[in-house]
Amino acid sequence: MAAEVGLRVQPVAALSDLEPRAGRGQAAWRAAWPRLAAVALLFAAWQAVVLSGWKPDYILPGPVAVLSRLGGEARTGVFYQALATTGLRAVGGFALALAAGSGVGLAVASSKTLRSAVGALLSGLQSMPSIAWFPLAILLFGLSEAAITFVVVLGAAPAIANGLISGLDHVPPLLLRYGRVAGARGFALYRHVALPAALPAFYAGLKQGWAFAWRSLLAGELLVTVGSRPSLGARLNFARELGDAEALMAGMLVVLLVGILVDALFGLGGRWIRRRWGLAE
């Protein structure tokens, strides 16, 4: 009887034994193939629309034509000048927005009066399409770099400020209590407890701020052409004026690729923060 009900113990293989250990190449392939498949599908759909003859191909060129145009442009110096101009504007504008947004966020989070004064305004600014600032920016600064920077900063800073405010609002009270027990007051409490605790939310604000900055910048470059400086936005405009659909779509691909690249970089940083802060496995 006892033998009948006795449990038969079987050695259980570790999970890592069940799944064959993948090499570095295999792991990379497993991460990459869904993306590659999505790109292939996108290009296939695009090609299908072109083949359907909905528009003549001088208005809607196919992916092969656009990609080979892009490859050709990537061998010219002016392409890199344009990329550099736009890149520098983005980095510069974002850096200014970072400074302004952090300053405002810190001030609003630490002052009740300021919060009731400008808290709602900040949220409103964040949802305001930054392109609505351009007419004013052009009036104030003319067709200049300053006009573009002005709008990029106004686009990105509210998101950054709101990220910092929400991070500081959600610092676990127990950590602040501990900080005070350990003798941290004022700035030390911010530096050692509140600011690091707020970092994940602040970082999310930075990522969102970047997206706003990038959008505002491209809108600005379409509207404000400074001298004859080549930029990604200006090239889109020229391509449209010249009716050069291949160049137009090649330019859009570049804008998309830059966006994907920066997003991937933000993703790397975000993963590191989540791991370090114990928010992810």
Partner: protein, 245 residues
């Protein structure tokens, strides 16, 4: 080591809320903890135990009464470890050292002292609950405050880990003789650790009974005399709850 500081609480009152919703948490509470004494405070929930520790630690303001810790800022341990999740075990212990300008090298020594020598570079979420509370203990010691306030620090741990930490705390206290005020709702834990157990009445809190504990150290939680005294304290607590105060 020089003599630790005493804690003197005299007629302390504290209420929460305002107007008709006001709840009195402490009403004229007086107690004394001698330098280097280990006192446990037991009481049902709502007896103002945590309120008292918050006041002694200087986190909250009393409405009435006086409080003296001899000019030192006490260290305080919570029920949760309250470690900074982004700092390693060592960096967490270094934090109070940095804040008071002490030598950071002390952190490694303190982690060794609580049995975590090999875990200095782990992040809190990579440690078990017991280990985290050990880090919190090392961090409290790093404050070098010689008054240690403990707010049910082992309540969330399993029995085996808790026994372990009781041994650890007793060993540390025998070595350093800091003044300890330890809050718990577990009478057995109180007798296991304290030289004197104070029982708080609930709503509002004041000291209702006092039990000296003259058991030899190191103690074991399974000890029969310890169990008998804990049972007496438990009876007192239940009576207080039944009588509603």
């Amino acid at each position: 080591m020089s003599l630790a500081h005493p804690i003197t609480v005299d007629g302390l009152s504290k209420a929460y809320g305002r107007g008709r919703d006001q709840v009195l948490a402490l009403s004229g509470l007086s107690l004394q903890v001698a330098p280097g004494e280990f006192v446990c405070l037991v009481g049902a929930s709502g007896s103002g135990k945590s309120t008292l520790l918050g006041l002694v630690a200087g986190l909250d303001q009393a409405m009435l009464g006086s409080l003296d810790t001899g000019g030192v800022r006490p260290a305080l341990m919570f029920q949760e470890p309250a470690l900074m999740p982004w700092l390693s075990a060592r960096q967490n212990v270094e934090l109070p050292l940095r804040l008071r300008g002490g030598p950071r090298s002390e952190a490694v020594r303190l982690l060794e002292l609580v049995g975590l020598a090999g875990f200095a570079d782990r992040l809190p979420h990579e440690l078990s609950g017991g280990m985290r509370q050990r880090v919190a203990l090392a961090r409290a010691l790093a404050q070098d405050a010689d008054i240690l306030l403990m707010d049910e620090p082992f309540a969330a741990l399993d029995a085996i880990t808790r026994d372990d930490l009781h041994d650890e705390l007793e060993r540390l206290w025998l070595r350093r003789r800091m003044t300890v005020l330890f809050v718990t709702h577990n009478a057995r834990e109180a007798v296991r650790l304290a030289g004197r157990v104070l029982v708080l009445s609930s709503r509002p809190g004041r000291v209702a009974a006092e039990f000296p504990v003259d058991l030899p150290r190191p103690r074991r939680i399974e000890n029969a005399d310890l169990g008998a005294l804990a049972a007496r304290i438990g009876d007192t607590l239940r009576e207080l709850v039944r009588d509603g105060g």
